[in-house]
């Protein structure tokens, strides 16, 4: 489908969010055209990618029309007005189903909107639909979705990462320039890494959790996914900020992330390489690209130091005690009494039986495992040795970060030990699956900021590798600054974004309405 002037529809889907916003604001293209182009793209490729669980075509076009009306009336538009966005299905939306990738919430329509969703809508961002995810955000591959896996646009036989796999794939497949994910153990950064895009975990509390269906309350952090560091920063700014409805939300100004993304330099910055994460646990190509990225930083003027964070080796076990414990409690409310699935209510069974039958039918195996693990860790007699101890280890990890950030301004590591693995490879081996979060988990436990930016393809499989840049809590801008510098230098080397090296997805002929 071709359009005049501004370019073809496929051009519109290749623009960055910043470019789209500028084009809409200047009148070069209408928000409706932009939205339609992306809806067409979804129709063309999502049967293969399966990033979306729900596409709200009518609502999206109406929102786009509203932006066009505002523009025509000369009213001021926000920096992302008219830009389409894919929203992870863990966020409550009053006008779209919210399933959290689970059967237990199939077709559930919340009677309220998440704060983040409301802020985006108020900013004129066009929500295209809800994306697929590991059930209740538990997983690293999106294979735990009750609605089927999402496929990596780089190689449809491989996982897009998880739990925000749908959001990541949507951006990588040009179905949306922006997406929202949530990061609890790495669920924004790891998918971004294996899909060759940018994913950011803000400081915990930086964005409101009101309306974010809780998995692990003290870890869950909503954040942006995009194809460029600047786009991620723009979305970060639009979605963040204090919310009185969330007691844990940070009551301080949003760090100057957009300015930092534009600044994009590292001269004089101290970059710390975490010893415990450089030990060769990663795939060869991942390690190689990481080492090159560190050298690149040095060549850009950063001072590279080695930093030891001794308790980081306990981060994975501590996380797999704390997160399941909190989730076992957070998911108790799915009891068939007030909303969601109800199974077995034949008029003779008790409430207790109906609860148990419903949860048995409505939850997948990973969710059940974690609920039981969490129940175990909180049990009387076990609490001190498991949950209690894990929370102490968490303090030690936070102290490790504090000490490290005295020696370095940012810390770096590979985002995840491997590139995208094949669908089905780890799904029956929980412990192997958990290893994907090895490098991302410490920042979730400490609550500081961390971004993943593409740093190349692994030679052995031609798949994307991510560089993780960690900054102190509330210093999110520092992560963007370094990330943008790396991106600029590498894209110059590559002659364009990494994503341009992916094979084009086959476009299905279909109803382009």
């Amino acid at each position: 489908m071709a359009t005049d002037g501004a370019g073809t529809a496929s051009d519109l889907t290749r623009l960055t969010a910043a470019e789209i916003a500028a084009a809409v604001a200047s009148g070069q293209v209408s928000a409706v055209e932009v939205t339609q182009a992306h809806l067409d793209r979804i129709v063309a490729v999502d049967p293969d990618v399966h990033a979306f669980l729900h596409v709200a075509g009518i609502g999206a076009l109406a929102a786009a029309e509203e932006v066009d009306r505002k523009r025509a009336a000369g009213r001021p538009l926000g920096p992302l007005a008219g830009v389409p966005l894919a929203l992870k299905d863990v966020m409550a939306t009053a006008d779209m189903p919210t399933t959290c990738g689970s059967k237990i919430l199939e077709n559930w329509r919340p009677p309220y909107d998440a704060t983040v969703a409301r802020r985006l809508r108020d900013a004129g961002v066009v929500i295209l639909g809800k994306t697929n995810m590991d059930e209740f955000a538990m997983g690293s591959s999106t294979e735990n979705s009750a609605y089927g896996p999402t496929r990596n646009p780089w190689d449809l036989t491989r996982i897009p990462g998880g739990s925000s796999g749908g959001s990541s794939a949507a951006v990588a497949a040009y179905e949306a320039p922006l997406a929202i994910g949530t990061d609890t153990g790495g669920s924004i950064r790891q998918p971004a890494s294996v899909c060759g895009i940018v994913g950011m975990k803000p400081t915990y509390g930086g964005s409101s959790r009101y309306g974010l269906v809780a998995f692990a309350s003290s870890l869950d952090t909503p954040g942006p996914l995009a194809r460029t560091v600047l786009d991620a920063a723009l979305l970060h700014e639009a979605m963040s900020g204090h919310d009185p409805c969330d007691s844990t939300s940070v009551d301080a100004p949003v760090p100057p992330v957009v300015a930092a993304a534009r600044q994009a330099d590292v001269a004089g910055l101290r970059v710390g390489v975490v010893t415990e994460f450089s030990g060769g646990g990663s795939q060869t190509g991942v390690q190689a690209r990481f080492t090159e990225a560190v050298e690149l930083l040095e060549s850009l003027g950063a001072k590279v130091v080695e930093v030891s964070c001794p308790h980081f080796t306990y981060a994975l076990p501590a996380y797999y005690l704390i997160a399941p414990s909190e989730c076992s409690s957070n998911l108790a409310r799915f009891d068939a009494m007030r909303y969601g699935l109800r199974v077995g209510d034949d008029g003779t069974r008790s409430a207790e039986e109906v609860m148990s039958l419903t949860r048995e039918a409505g939850f997948g195996p990973e969710v059940k495992r974690r609920i039981m693990l969490g129940t175990y860790a909180l049990s009387s007699g076990y609490y001190d040795a498991y949950y209690g101890k894990a929370q102490q280890v968490r303090t030690l990890i936070t102290q490790d970060f504090e000490a490290a950030f005295e020696q370095a301004d940012v810390l770096v590591s590979p985002t995840t030990p491997t590139t995208a693995f094949p669908i089905g490879e780890r799904v029956d081996d929980p412990m192997a699956m958990y290893l994907a979060d090895l490098f991302t988990i410490p920042s979730d436990l400490a609550g500081n900021a961390a971004i993943s930016v593409p740093c190349g393809l692994a030679p052995e499989d031609g798949l994307p590798v991510g560089l993780q840049i960690m900054a102190p809590a509330l210093a999110d801008d520092r992560a963007y600054r370094v990330g943008a510098a790396v991106e600029a230098a590498l894209e110059q080397r590559w002659g364009g974004p990494l994503l341009a090296q992916a094979k084009e997805l086959r476009e299905r002929a279909g109803d382009t309405r």
Partner: protein, 499 residues
């Protein structure tokens, strides 16, 4: 299936066993909104019309603590002589139940807001200092209607209907330390504690504390140990204790029941029991296969509560005069006896006396009228004193009329009758019923002459010096004037006349 409990008669039980009691009281706070959201706490609204994503526990919702509820709790803690925590947290109490929207309750576990206080309670003439273990803050649950069964209770119901309007209302839990050494006065002590606590809470203005409406709920713990035992016995917890009288009765019953169990050489089961209003007994709740493990952990969605000492002192300075201090002050001001003060307190009449005194009567007069004639009226109709159709100001007026000599005590009773019957203010009743004492000397003189004339033999005895007989003639004058004569003046006139 009813459980027929064996009982040992109360006095006998106490001759062999020592009771230890404990009370856990839940108080619904009278804040305008709920503990963690802005829904109203108004009683009696249409079902599920005062709910929001937070108190419904919808996926994605988050709690935010109500500052007023924290303040009320600190106020209660200070009034109970507790230490206020410098830093504490909320905790999740995890269990599944349909009236709990999140299937966990946000409460406090090992870090309560207030600890280690006391409340003095008077029973049988002596003072017992009831230790307060803790005062903490939590949220209330929804309410279920059990349908399809015969009794409206859970057993035998086919299904239930749940209303979440009450879910999330702030609840303060006050837990006493075990109270030993009360002996035979254990039931009364328990009742007196709840009464005193209720009055205290009411004076603080933190709750309307109506047991009938459920804004004050009591669980009663009782254990028995043989006299001279070194360890306490196993305690039971009795719920559904919905009135002060039930508090007393439930303690009494448990003592009698547990004594029988122990006499039979068996062990008292540590269990939750249910009190039955109709016959004053307790029965065992449904036995659970395993004891509840609530898997408490600190609530991650809330940040710690750290009341700074300035705020605490501000709250302390704003505390009203507490009931015990007030009683002591009134006792001194009114000059009534200990016994009279206790009677007033038990009758809940302190406020009435206070208001009557404020309206100009003496404390003694106020007490006389409220605890005498008016109490008789109240008992006859089964009403509370405060519910009678007469105000303290009106009672003070009646007292003033008597003092002024306008009426006497006997006439005053008729005036009170008239006010209670709705005939108007005391002065109006006096006028309408013609109850004023006859002040006209002439009329009085005529009545005196008539009485003398009608009783010549008595008159003769008086003339002879037997002045004691004058009483009979005074009586005659009173009868003739239908009680409206000034008896003293009549006496004077008679004696003058016959001297």
């Amino acid at each position: 299936m009813t459980e027929l409990a064996q009982l040992v008669p109360y006095d006998e039980a106490l001759s062999r066993y020592e009771p230890v009691i404990g009370l856990e009281t839940h108080v619904e706070l009278g804040t305008a909104t709920k503990m963690f959201c802005g829904c109203p706490t108004t009683f009696g609204l249409e079902p599920n019309s005062a709910v929001c994503p937070v108190c419904l526990g919808l996926p994605g919702s988050l709690p935010v603590a109500n500052r007023a509820a924290i303040e009320y709790t600190i106020r209660i803690g200070l009034a109970l002589n507790c230490s206020i925590a410098t830093w504490c947290r909320f905790a999740r109490k995890n269990y599944f139940y349909p009236d709990m929207p999140k299937d966990f309750q946000i409460s406090q576990y090992d870090e309560p807001l207030c600890t280690d206080g006391w409340l003095d309670v008077v029973t049988g003439g002596s003072t017992v200092r009831v230790g307060i273990e803790r005062v903490h803050l939590e949220e209330d649950t929804g309410k279920s209607l059990h349908m399809g069964g015969a009794t409206g209770r859970i057993h035998g119901a086919e299904y239930s209907l749940v209303d979440y309007n009450r879910a999330g209302i702030p609840l303060v839990e006050v837990v006493t330390k075990p109270v030993a050494g009360t002996g035979a006065l254990a039931p009364e002590t328990a009742r007196a504690y709840v009464t005193e606590l209720r009055d205290l809470l009411r004076s603080l203005g933190v709750s309307d504390v109506r047991m009938e409406e459920g804004s004050l709920r009591c669980d009663v713990n009782v254990s028995l140990a043989p006299r001279a035992a070194t360890e306490w016995g196993t305690r039971t917890e009795t719920k559904n204790v919905n009135s002060l009288r039930s508090v007393e009765r439930s303690v009494r019953f448990e003592i009698e029941r547990q004594a029988a169990v122990l006499d039979a050489g068996q062990k008292v089961l540590q269990e939750t029991r249910h009190f039955h209003e109709d016959n004053g007994t307790t029965t065992a709740g449904r036995s659970k296969e395993e004891a509840q493990d609530y898997r408490y952990f600190p609530e991650p969605d809330l940040v710690p509560v750290a009341p700074d000492r300035d705020w605490v002192e501000q709250i302390r300075a704003s505390l009203p005069e507490l009931p015990a201090a007030r009683r002591a002050r009134l006792h001194a001001e009114w000059g009534l006896s200990e016994l009279e003060m206790t009677q007033l307190q038990n009758a809940g009449a302190l406020d009435l006396i206070g208001a009557t005194v404020a309206a100009g009567a003496s404390a003694a007069d106020a007490r006389k009228w409220w605890m005498g004639e008016l109490a008789r009226h109240a008992n006859a109709t089964g009403a509370d004193l405060a519910a009678l159709a007469i105000t303290p100001a009106q009672v003070a007026r009646v007292s003033a009329l008597v003092k002024a000599g306008t009426i006497n005590d006997k006439l005053a009773r008729q005036v009170l009758d008239g006010v209670l019957a709705g005939e108007g203010d005391p002065d109006a009743v006096v006028a309408a019923r013609g109850l004023a004492i006859v002040s006209d000397e002439g009329a009085l003189m005529s009545a005196v002459e008539a009485a003398i004339a009608a009783n010549p033999d008595i008159a003769a005895r008086i003339r002879d010096g037997k002045t004691a007989a004058v009483g009979a003639l005074v009586g005659a004058v009173m009868k003739a004037t239908r009680g409206r004569a000034d008896a003293n003046r009549a006496r004077e006139l008679i004696l003058e006349r016959l001297s």
